[in-house]
Every structure is written in C-alpha cells, then in structure tokens.
C-alpha cells in the first residue's frame, strides 16, 4: 500500500459546498463549491487581495471559514479547528526557514516537528533541488531563489496527500519553475492532490480545474 492511501481509499480528497471566508464580517469572495480528487491539481486564481491566501489559510484552520459542507478524505471535517491537520502540507509566502540552521538541518527539523519520516535520500533530494553543495550553508546565506528551493525540499520529502501552495513560483527562475512542476507531477502520479494559488499571469501546466475568486458583489 502506498503511504498516501488512507485505510479506505477515497477518490475525493477534499470537497466543499458554499465555502466563504470573511474579513471584517464581509465575505471576501462568492461562495465556492469544489471537489478535489486524487491526482487533481486545482489552480486558485484571483487578483491581489481577492482572498487566495486567506482561503488557503482558512482550509488549514488559521483563518475562520464558513461552509455548508467540508469533507477531507471522505470525513466530515466542518467545525474542526484544523480541518486538514494531518493530511496537508502548506507552503506559503513565509517559508518557515531558520536563517541560523543549514539547509539540511532546516529540512530535518521541519520534518521531525511535523512528525513526518526523515527523507530517505537527502543527498539525491538536494541534488534534484539544485542545492547540491549548499546542504551545509546556513539558510540566511542563500539567495531568495535558493531559499525558496530550500523550502521546496519540504514538498519533495513529504508524503502528505494534499498540498496547499501559495504562489509557489514566486522568486524562482525557469529551471525552478520546471522543478515545482516536476514535484507537482510526481505528487499527482502518486495519488496526491494540490491547490495552487496564482495571480493569473503564469499558466500552470496540466491543471485539472481553475477556481476563480470573484468579488461577491
């Protein structure tokens, strides 16, 4: 059994009905209905301030959320404090890297603190990320793009079924973008799903659906 499949493999990872996030008791976007299946990649589009980050954070239980239905891995999680808790990996604007720790230590501690198994082959992993030779460099000495790559190591090593990525292409060069796409493709091939936010300028290859966040009025 692959590490991603739960005890009863649900074809749908995440589904929601009439999901709304609010800011100052004003809805940020028109109610959302969506279903994310295994192997799906949903692109979250919207202009700046349309609530993309807020929606991703709300799914993680960091922001309030209203919905009539929210199911994750076939389980009703509406009303739980952190609905997607054990099954989700988030990568946001804040990368969660410690400047004083090396690239390798950052990955080790991030995995251990999230109670995920250590990376099977960290050397190959860093080589794929283009960070070979930087494993023992403190994260603060890296460039913005390299820091992003160091944070992507979390994705490459993760076995979580659902990825929530907030603007994963920011700060990356063309090979970096190809790298994210490769990580996403591998994740989907293993039966994982992903929601990826984008400001709509760059198209994401192979998306199964697009959610557009529209202003409610």
């Amino acid at each position: 059994m692959s590490p991603l499949s739960p005890t009863t493999p649900a074809p749908v990872l995440l589904c929601s009905h009439e999901l709304v996030c609010e800011r100052d008791s004003e809805p940020l976007f028109a109610p959302l209905h969506f279903a994310l299946g295994r192997g799906d990649l949903v692109v979250l589009e919207g202009v700046n301030g349309s609530g993309k980050t807020t929606l991703l954070r709300a799914l993680l239980g960091l922001n309030p959320l209203r919905a009539t239905r929210l199911e994750f891995l076939g389980r009703d999680v509406l009303g739980e404090r952190h609905p997607l808790r054990a099954g989700t990996l988030m990568l946001g604007h804040l990368l969660g890297l410690k400047g004083d720790l090396t690239v390798r230590e950052n990955l080790e501690f991030a995995l251990a603190l999230a109670d995920e198994p250590a990376a099977a082959d960290p050397d190959a992993l860093f080589a794929e990320l283009g960070l070979a030779g930087y494993e023992h460099t403190p994260a603060r000495a890296l460039s913005a793009g390299q820091r992003k790559r160091a944070a992507l190591a979390r994705l490459a090593a993760s076995l979580r079924p659902l990825w929530l990525l907030d603007e994963p292409f920011a700060n990356l060069d063309a090979p970096g973008i190809a790298l994210v796409e490769r990580l996403l493709a591998r994740h989907r091939a293993r039966g994982g799903g992903a929601i990826v936010s984008s400001h709509g300028l760059s198209t994401i290859a192979g998306a199964s659906a697009v959610i557009r966040l529209e202003h409610p009025h």
Partner: protein, 227 residues
Amino acid sequence: MSALRPYFALMRRDFKLALRRRAELLMPLAFAVLVILLFSIALGGSATRLAPVAAPVIWVTVLLAGFLSLESMFRPDVEDGTLDQWLAGPVSIIGLMVSKALAHWLLFGLGLTAATPVLAMLLKLPVELLPMLLLALAIGSFGATQIGLIAAALTARLRRSGILLAIIVLPLYLPLLIFGSGAVDAVRLGDSPRAALLLLAAQTLLLTTLAAPAAAAGLRIGSDNPP
C-alpha cells in the same frame, strides 16, 4: 518512530539555535552581572550592609535577566511562518509548548542559576546561604519560565511587545519572589526554610500544569492576522 520525536526535535532545534546565537544567550548573564555590580557599588560594599539584602537583590536580578530572554521566545517562529505550520500541523501544540519551556529553562533559567555563585560573591552573600539560594532559584526560575511562556505566547504576534510583556510578567513574578527570597532569609535568621520552599515548589507545579495549555491557546489568538 518515537511518539516523542517532534518534542525532542524542538528542544534540539532550540539548543542549536541558541548556540549559534551565543550573544543572545550570554546577554541576560551579562545584564545580571552588571546590575549586581551597580547594587554592590551603590550599597557601599561592606559585608554587614550587603548580607541582609544580597539574596533578595540576586532574586530580583535573576528574574529581570530571565525576563529579557522572553521576547525572543516565539517572535522568530512567528515571523518566519514556522508557528503557522505548527498550528496547522498534526503535532500537539501543548506538547510543543512543554518542549519550548523546558529548553528555555535549561538555557536561561538553569544558566542564570549556575551563574549565581558569581553574583553571590559580588554581593558578599554569606557562604552558608548559597546552597539554599541555588535551590530556591532552580525551582523558582522554572516557575518563572512558565509565567514567561504564557506571556510570550500571548504577545508573540504583537509588534512591540516589550513593555506589555513586562506589565504582564512582573506582577506574576511576585509570589515566586516572596517565597524564593523568603526561603533564603529563613536560613539567614536561623529559621526553617521548609514552608517557604514548599510553597515555592507548589506554585511552580501549579504554573507548570497551567502554562502549556494556556500558551497554546494564546498562540492561536490572532492566527488570522499573519505578520
């Protein structure tokens, strides 16, 4: 895989980070030594004048020095997004708070306690009082760390929290200070320090049971306002 792995990992991480930022680690120690020096100069340096006040002054100084380390307890984890990952993740926040408090006490509470003999020498504390002072400080600083954990968690997402932190923490230090320096005073006056020491330990125990859940709840407040 051990069920305690995330909690040990956090302690190891905090030790590693502290050792890479040695200046921050040594700052409270330097502060304590300087304050004690000022007191010994202001009080005139004669052993008869210093002996009755030495223990209380050391207590206040150690509490204030420990307070200096509180602001950086959660601030870096808030600013780089680590905290959000913990809150959204599967690992118990209460458990992480226990690790955080333990690591902080081992680094600062026990560190300052270990430096106390130097402070005691500067203030000409009678040698026979030193064991009791060390014991009381070791217990009391653990309680003070728990108070600090709650206050640091509550103020972690505020930008300028220094004064607010002081206003929350310093009054709560008072009971620890009363019984902590009371235990040393009892020895100085030839009484039994037992009652004061037990009350100090009881407070510390009570604080230890309350601190982790309270801090975990504190960190959740305002998670919808990322930095």
